[in-house]
Amino acid sequence: MNSLIEQAPLLAPIALGILAVWMLLPREGNRAWVIAGLCGISALLWLTKNFLPPVDNAVQTGMFFLFGGGAIISGTLMITEKNPVYAALWFAVVTLSTCGLFLLNAAPFLSAATVVVYAGAIVVTFLFVIMLAQQGGATGYDRKAFQPILASIAGFMLLACLLFTLQAFGGKAVVAADGEEQPVARPQFVLPPANVVSNPLSQPQPRRDKPDQNDLGTLQGVGRSLFGDYLFAVELAGTVLLIATIGTIALAPRRSQGTL
């Protein structure tokens, strides 16, 4: 019990999040938007307090808040939206936010590729199917969530574990009993030993055009890593795509079985 009370800064946003998600999940009757929204926002703010990003680079922090917060909020809105079409659109927003995060993580190619593949192909295909299958909008089974309480609790319990692990391994100090922040020595995330390079081609090397910069995040670096260290995996991925194509064509219902 003591340990639970100690972990209150972690558990409080979790509890608020459970409340928010549960209240927002589709149900009969009206949902308490305002309260749920307040709970959710306060949970996010509390989390921010715990896991505060470094404030040194304002732009980066602002971008992070934009994209990260946008992803979270769009994700919540996606899973709690009754109308499946709107939910798919919210998913597209999630994808865009995630791509923004990719940009922050020095992966511009990936963000562009994700926008094209995901938001451009996958989401569109899903939307096609929704619109073809459910022309009346939200149906009965869209309006009512299945096991909302249990799912929220289970999910957020997992989140609590993950956050606890992050907290244990992160650099944030714990507020001690006397109210002072004390820097506590924590184990760091595992870095590879200095003299061992496991994926040499994935390590950043000087750029061709600007030798004083490394090519982390450039297409050149990605390409070298992709077709260098992971060539075999690339070939396999191509084969998997081919097989998936054949499989999709084989599984899809025939015209003789009736159109959609």
Binding site: F146, Q147, L150, A151, A154, G155, M157, L158, T165
Partner: protein, 711 residues
Amino acid sequence: MSWLNENCLWLIPAAPLAACLWIVVAGQFFRRDKAHRVVVLGLLASWLCALNLLLVVVPSTFEDHGEHAAAATEVPHGGRLETKPGSVSYFIYDWFHVRGAGSQPASMSDRQFKADSGGLSVPVELRADALSALMLVMVTSVSLLVAIFASGYMHGDPGYPRFFGALSLFVFSMCMLVLASNFLLLFVFWEAVGLCSYLLIGFWFHKPSAAAAAKKAFVVNRIGDFGLILGIFLIWTTFGTLEFDRVLANPWLIQQTVAAQPEIFTTICLLLFIGAVGKSAQFPLHVWLPDAMEGPTPVSALIHAATMVTAGVYLVARCSPLFVHSPFALQVVAGIGAATALIAAITALTQYDLKRVLAYSTVSQLGYMFMSLGAAGANPQELMQPAVTFALFHMFTHAFFKAVLFLSAGSVMHAMGDVIDMRRFSGLRKALPITWVTFLAGALALAGVPLLSGFWSKDEILAVLHRAAQSEPHGVYYTVILCIALLTALMTAFYTFRAYFLTFHGPEVFPPEAGHHPHDAPPVMAGPLYILGLAALFIGLATGPTHLYGHYLHHTPGLPAPVVAHHADGHAAEGDHAAGEHGHDWFMMLTSSILAVGGIAAAYLVYGKHPGAQGVKEPTPLAKLSLNGLYLDDIYLALVVKPLRSLAELSEIIDRLVIDKIVDGVALVPAFLASILRPIQNGLVQHYAFVMLLGLAASLVWMLQALAGTP
């Protein structure tokens, strides 16, 4: 000849056993209608060996004929044959040998045998002395004649080989019972004769009444066997051994036990007597014998007249060295014998089934034998020997005349198409002359007409009872018993001749089942009838007054002799008996003759003069009482059978409603446990995903918990 002397002991039971095995193995399939040949041959061999035993082997062991025996015959020696004074034993194998807790001295003679070793050693050993020899001759001769008779009587029956197989098995068991050398072996064959009786009574097992009668016989016998086995246990704990040589033929051990715990003899004797009550159909366990008439008539003649029912008498006679020390037990024996004789005689007065009359008559005569045995209670030392002698003599003569009566009844049945109800036929004198003559011979013997065999044996019993009535301190008791015996003698004569007159005199009436012309016994049936008829008439005269039987029997080792001072060794001194034994009790002879003739005359007056007039009268209440066996069967039904049946039904209900339900309840536990777990599998993918997520979260929590505190 010496080979025969050495081996006749085990040949006597082995021959019928071999015949039985032959029938079991081959006789069922191979010449079924000739199955009797093997059995008759076996029984003939057995009879010849028994004669040899009686006339040659056993007399050679008598000590007072010492030089005589050594000169005339070779005393059997060698191999497994062992001769002791008065008896010869043949060892077959050691059945079991249980070591006791105490130590057993390395060498001990019979006289110094100590009963404190606590172990038990039971060999399969045959032992024959004078008593055994006499019984064996009786058993084998009657068996042989009955087997010959049965080959004609059972002709055409579908179970012909089975009959002869069971019959030879029975003779084997009876011979082994008589030849057993220890109590446990006796008990084994006691049960075996009960089993064979079951097989033979229930021979026509398709008839429900026959099956029920067989079951009744076995169950009632079993009740007696319970007492017998308890008695055997008590003998073992008291004497430490079960062998006849050591317990009964050993006066030293008995004297020791009398000195140490005299009251144990009463208990032992009463328990052994319970066994005799069951086997010999005494009151209260006599109810099985009349129903046993459902079996074929040869079976009734052999088992329920001559051999099996006499096993009880044999047991008491064999254990007379024990009984002699317990006057109370002997009084009980006499009392029960008297009660049985009276009840059976009363019941036989109104029976209309000829075989049942004879069955009740058997019960009554067995009561006579036990009365005789119990008469020794007045003065055990003095009276034991005559009591035992005359009881066994009556058994001997009874075997023959009862057998001839039963076989004649069988011949009547055979002629009348299996009808034995006396109300349905009469006047068979002219149609069945052979049967008429032999039946008359047997009836005269049974009634006790002077100079016939029944007269001699019955008269001697009455004489012993008279002596008992005259001695103190139980004179009054034995006077009552004597009066009952006399009354029973009168009634015996009456009902025997009632049956005779109803059957053979009067107008000739045949039942429809008889066919057009009832035929008399064929030669194969007539032969045994004649032989047994002659025996019924004359064997008593031949062996009784001449004291052939008595003197021979007195050589039985261990048989208590009246205390006489002449000879130094413990054997009975011949020629030196009290006057009452050798001299005849003329008063009793006269009384019994008058009673016999009076009974016959009364029967003639009632049934002989106006034959056929007893047809359709409604029985008076007294007659009904007699007809239904004094309602004893009904009493047993109400007191014993119905409560047990209710108990069985209650048990069945408990078994079905309680025990089965408990078992079902136990079976419900897995179902219940499963029903708790089943809802997890409800077919919904999202539920399964939820369980997976929950498992993941839980395992993560647990892992973090385990890692807590580690850097």
